[in-house]
Symmetry: C2
């Protein structure tokens, strides 16, 4: 039963790129963050730091920084690699869609708690717990990392000290439209038995 | 309902460090890997590569490499930072516990699909989906990254070409003992409002 319920959430989780301005209350944010803290981390160091941003000016600054990073760097890399449909989706998020979310959760890793190279493996599972919980609650969310292209700017906006490494910004809010199912290749195209090159 | 079922799985997921030799069948492995592929990835590049290792010799080689990395590098860093209880847990996994799992899933990121700096944010959410699904199915699992200290060795064992970056090894199997609840600090100790330094 748990497995089916979990699988149903996992298989419908998807990046939301258009948000209603309906507020998200503290209890809901607390549920997302509690879920995040149950993720594994290297040797249980729990190096996650969350800054919950509701202030409209700060959100606009962060979204603006993301948009600039996309337009000056990300897009050129992606243009040749994405289908027009996926590129359109990403564009929509970067150029205003994410900006509409009423809450941004800035996620950083504490380099004083855990060695720097271990931070991503300790932080992104926590983010995934957050995204799944948002999905189960009917909220939209997305894992974005492009704000880390201008990490210093992001750190300044939310006053992160030097030893906290910003790794993600998660917009959270209610979706304007129900999200379509995610598009994924079958696992078997990515899976090998015993050694790479020996397909599943 | 989905939210409660999900939260129940999320809050009992924990690293398993002692495994039965009961085999894990293909259908179960497929469920874990399907769940993994529903995770988000940068621009939906899906850069994950899974090598499912059941061969006892290969598993022993991987576990041996992990143990050496722990004894020659990891342990010295951690000794001063962990409580004796947590250090004992980690020791148990590294010096034989993980080695007992009947399946190792080596997880790599494809640097030809997605820019290298985006690989961790695209791979670790997939690993978390795998761990949660394992938990829901009554399986033990763990997110380990220490094998990447000797990445070349790991790549050789499972024949990964140059452009596939190994990021994690996930042992999977049935736990010898029921897992105790995870030990976590409350989210509020890690959470700030609007700016770092303004506690939740």
């Amino acid at each position: 039963v748990d497995d089916d319920a979990l699988f149903a959430v996992i298989t419908r989780q998807r990046a939301c790129r258009q948000y209603r301005d309906t507020p998200v209350d503290d209890a809901t944010v607390e549920r997302l963050l509690t879920a995040a803290t149950y993720a594994p981390s290297a040797e249980n160091h729990q190096p996650w730091v969350f800054v919950v941003v509701r202030n409209a000016t700060a959100r606009a600054e962060i979204a603006g920084s993301m948009q600039r990073a996309w337009e000056t760097a990300g897009r050129a890399y992606s243009e040749t690699r994405l289908t027009p449909a996926v590129l359109g989706d990403v564009d929509r998020g970067m150029t205003g869609g994410f900006a509409g979310a009423p809450v941004f959760i800035v996620v950083a890793g504490d380099a004083q708690r855990s060695a720097k190279p271990t931070l991503p493996s300790s932080i992104f599972p926590a983010v995934q717990n957050m995204l799944l919980t948002a999905t189960a609650l009917g909220l939209g969310s997305a894992l974005t990392t492009i704000a880390t292209v201008h990490a210093g700017e992001l750190a300044r906006i939310v006053a992160l000290p030097e030893h906290l490494v910003p790794l993600a910004v998660v917009p959270v809010g209610y979706p304007v439209h129900p999200l379509a199912p995610p598009r994924r290749e079958p696992f078997s195209e990515h899976t090998h038995r015993e050694r790479f090159g020996n397909p599943w």
